[in-house]
């Protein structure tokens, strides 16, 4: 019995929960935490209307009635609180299999599960779209409220990574299907977490961001400190592109290391600029570990 309990504690995954709110009014009949355009409810004041338009005696507002000339009975109208669909679009390209200080694919699975958990906890539905060279229909998850979804998604992603890492070498996968992911989403505006390392060509990145323009996109950039921060100061190293872009010889020395760091800083600025141009939220950079609290702060601060 104690071992079972131990296994349960060790193996059970508790997703981190983060909070988000929308800077826009959702459309939808589903009840939830977000402001919507639908009339109804009693918390989100919309306007005063003549009583006959909203014949609810509990919503009669005497002060507004008195203010009218000629007098007529006014009542208050509220916006309904509703739910949106939260999506995670994940990049399953080969470069996401990079293992540095953390295993990127595991980090990605954790974040996806965390998003699912947070969405379900706040009453939204959660869906998953995974892309490599194609939109992965086997991993597709339409928005749902199903219980245990977070755990399910995490298990599915980890299993998929394990399977694909065994049959990898032949053709390195790129993330070329990312612009097609938008077709899998609901037409109504949704909250989309775009989880990728953003090692995409500028064209692909622009296309992806443009295709997601109808939605509220939160770019989550997964970088590893080993990529650019935590590299040896001296020595000769050859690096191979994980997506089949050839290899390169690097004679590492302090000036080159500095240059690499500068390149990454530039890339960071570049990503931020492109996201701003495409009208998404500010990208959230995740290095090595995922901290839901920081993501919450980011989401609540920078709408």
């Amino acid at each position: 019995m104690p071992t079972v309990l131990f296994n349960l504690i060790v193996n059970s995954f508790i997703p981190q929960e983060f909070y988000y709110h929308l800077g826009w009014r959702a459309r939808g009949a589903q009840l939830g935490p977000h402001p919507t355009r639908t009339s109804g409810g009693n918390a989100d004041f919309q306007s005063y209307v003549p009583f006959m338009e909203n014949p609810n005696p509990r919503r009669i507002d005497l002060r507004a009635t008195v203010r009218t000339v000629p007098h007529q009975l006014m009542s208050r109208v509220y916006h309904e609180r509703g739910a949106v669909a939260v999506y995670a679009i994940i990049d399953l390209s080969a470069s996401m299999r990079f293992t540095g200080n953390s295993e990127k694919h595991q980090l990605m699975a954790d974040i996806a599960a965390s998003a699912a958990w947070s969405a379900l906890r706040s009453g939204d539905s959660f869906g998953l779209v995974a892309c490599d060279n194609v939109v992965r229909s086997d991993l597709f998850e339409p928005p749902t409220h199903r219980r245990g979804l977070a755990d399910e998604i995490r298990t599915k992603l980890l299993k998929q990574q394990k399977a694909s890492s065994t049959e990898t070498a032949s053709t390195p996968l790129s993330a070329s299907a990312l612009p097609l992911a938008a077709q899998q989403l609901r037409q109504k505006r949704s909250l989309v977490f775009l989880i990728s390392d953003f090692h995409l060509s500028d064209v692909l990145l622009n296309k992806t961001l443009d295709s997601l323009a109808p939605h509220d996109v939160v770019p989550l950039v997964l970088w590893d400190s080993v990529e650019y921060n935590n590299i040896p100061a001296w020595g000769w190293a050859r690096v191979r592109d994980m997506e089949g872009g050839g290899d390169r010889s690097l004679f590492l020395r302090p000036s080159l290391v500095r240059l690499i760091k500068t390149c990454y800083a530039e890339r960071r600025k570049n990503i931020i600029a492109q996201c701003a141009r495409a009208g998404t939220r500010a990208p959230f950079f995740i290095e090595d570990t995922f901290n839901a609290e920081r993501l919450t702060r980011h989401l609540l601060e920078a709408c």
Binding site: S95, F98, H199, G235, W236, E243, R248, L259, Y264
Partner: protein, 349 residues
């Protein structure tokens, strides 16, 4: 060809002097090994070294230095393989002629040890003790110890020639041989065989200096015409010059004064002198009648033979594979240095 001389000097090969080395002189012992040169393409073409997986090298800056070091590394690999292949193929410089300047002379001293050498000089009857042998020995000893650059050898002869010291730089041997003549002379004067033996030591030696046969004797011998021809041939072949220090005996015949008719055989020295003069090689006779004259003659000889000799020598083919192995070693050292700088682990932490 300057760089080849540099390489040779670097590899510790002695200076070649003025050589007319040319690429046309290059040769190979076993050209089949050149097939190994194809292996040199391997470092240039091969891909698939251990690399670190990196998400996207498009994010990395282009570094020209790294690119060139990578190329250098490949070229070093190719070079070391080709140098080894050339070394295995046994590359060599073919025969070529070298101009050399010889300084010291090669002197074979042919010393007469016949019994008559124990006698006095002609016009010094008062100093009975100074035998011709003693004088000759003393003067020769000074000569030997003074001539630093020469190669010396010594043959003594009486009835038959004895090799005292072979032609070489060993002065001690010659001095010891001279000392050994203390024992006194005996027997007759077999000039021809002594000269023959002395000339025999030039055989097969490179002509790096004037060849001088220094005959020290007090008498001659009658030479048959056959022997005369043979000696002449030998002198011509070896290109040796002859100096004869004739220690004139008391009442002995002079070399220059012809004998009366009918007494030719009694004094063979004159005929010998005539014969030497007719040989066609540089020849000079010194007629010494006292120790001073002997010294004078030796000084003359020392001056004469010290002229530098310029000559062409066919050098043997030079094995260059050692140099190529060294070059291969250098390249391999470079490769090893590269290997040492390789990053074993990408992560520093």
């Amino acid at each position: 060809m300057n760089f080849i001389n540099d390489i040779l000097q670097f590899a510790g090969v002695e200076n070649l002097g003025v050589e007319n080395l040319g690429v046309e002189n290059l040769g190979l012992e076993t050209p089949a090994y050149l097939l190994l040169l194809l292996l040199a393409l391997f470092p240039l073409l091969v891909r698939g070294h251990t690399t670190f997986a990196y998400p996207s090298i498009a994010r990395l800056p282009v570094d020209p230095l790294s690119k060139w070091l990578e190329r250098l590394w490949r070229i070093l690999g190719a070079l070391s393989i080709s140098f080894i292949a050339l070394g295995l193929a046994g590359i060599y410089w073919g025969s070529h002629s070298v101009e050399r300047v010889g300084r010291g002379a090669h002197i074979m001293i042919v010393l007469d040890r016949s019994a008559s050498m124990n006698d006095n000089f002609a016009d010094k009857p008062a100093e009975g003790e100074a035998s011709k042998m003693a004088v000759a020995r003393q003067v020769l000893q000074t000569f030997v110890s003074k001539s630093r650059e020469d190669l010396l050898g010594m043959v003594t002869f009486s009835t038959s020639p004895i090799l005292a010291a072979p032609l070489g730089g060993d002065r001690e041997a010659v001095l010891s041989a001279l000392k050994a003549t203390d024992a006194g002379g005996m027997g007759f004067t077999a000039v021809a065989r002594g000269l023959g033996m002395a000339l025999g030591y030039y055989e097969g030696k490179p002509v790096t200096g004037a060849r001088v046969v220094l005959l020290v004797s007090d008498g001659g011998a009658h030479l048959e015409s056959k022997t005369q021809d043979m000696l002449r041939n030998m002198f011509h072949r070896q290109g040796a010059s002859l100096y004869w220090i004739f220690l004139r005996s008391a009442n002995g015949a002079s070399l220059t004064k012809p004998q009366e008719e009918g007494h030719d055989d009694a004094y063979p020295e004159y005929q010998l002198h005539q014969y030497f003069g007719s040989m066609g090689v540089p020849y000079k006779a010194y007629e010494a009648e006292n120790p001073m004259a002997v010294e004078q003659a030796m000084a003359d000889i020392a001056r004469l033979k010290n002229q530098p000799v310029r000559y062409q020598e066919a050098a043997p083919r030079r094995d260059l594979s050692v140099i190529f192995y060294w070059l291969a070693l250098l390249c391999t050292c470079g490769l090893f240095a590269f290997h040492l700088t390789e990053v074993k682990q990408w992560r520093t932490a």
